[in-house]
């Protein structure tokens, strides 16, 4: 369990934006994951997408890591941002764009 925590911790700190999802942005396996991936794809940034269906340990571990029972989960700069509802809400009110602005500049 500790190993998984470390693995997830390394992942979310290694990349500016990490999305844990079911499936991939190209082939999402769940409507909620699809929605968040589509939102992320609408920004001109690169993000790391982790398909939890390929790794049962990560699939369970990520729930403990964030103390959050559902997937998808979005992390920006190592910080847990939320799941589908929260990311959608933040996208609708422009908060997400603000949060991702530094990442856009960095990738240009």
């Amino acid at each position: 369990m500790e190993q998984i925590r470390e693995k997830i911790g390394a992942l979310v700190h290694e990349h500016d934006a990490v999305l844990f999802m079911k499936g991939t942005p190209q082939f999402p396996q769940c409507g909620f994951s699809q929605q968040v991936a589509a939102i992320m794809d609408s920004f001109n940034i690169t993000y790391e997408a982790v398909n939890v269906l390929l790794d049962p340990e990560v699939r369970e571990g990520i729930k403990d890591y964030a103390d959050w029972p559902t997937i998808p989960q979005l992390y920006i700069k190592g910080e847990f941002i939320g799941g589908c509802d929260i990311v959608s809400e933040m996208h609708a009110c422009g908060e997400l764009a603000e949060l991702l602005k530094p990442l856009q500049q960095a990738s240009n």
Binding site: K22, W68, T70, F80
Partner: protein, 93 residues
């Protein structure tokens, strides 16, 4: 309203003392997709306004709802859509 929605509503009414609460059973829209089949649980949308949410972040509010329903995940609940507002925010809409 389905029995499961009623059950979820009862729990949230007891634990979060909402001013208003609306539960929609979206299970039919998700029937048959991979996760839904595994757990047997349903998809529900929860629209809840409670004074307990005032001053809390979105993450904290959602955690309160998840915490209240943690024993129902699995056979009862597969996934939730949550909109959690304080009475002030709820009235401004």
């Amino acid at each position: 309203m389905s029995t499961r929605s009623g059950h979820i509503r009862n729990i949230l009414q007891q634990k979060l003392k909402p001013q208003t609460i609306e539960i929609t059973d979206d299970s039919a829209r998700h029937a048959g997709h991979a996760g839904a089949r595994e757990s047997g649980g349903g998809h529900f949308s929860i629209d809840i306004v409670s004074g307990d949410f005032a001053g809390l972040t979105r993450i904290q509010r959602h955690r309160m709802v998840y915490e209240a329903l943690k024993d129902e995940f699995g056979p009862m609940i597969h996934a939730l859509s949550i909109q959690a507002m304080s009475p002030e925010e709820g009235n401004s809409e």
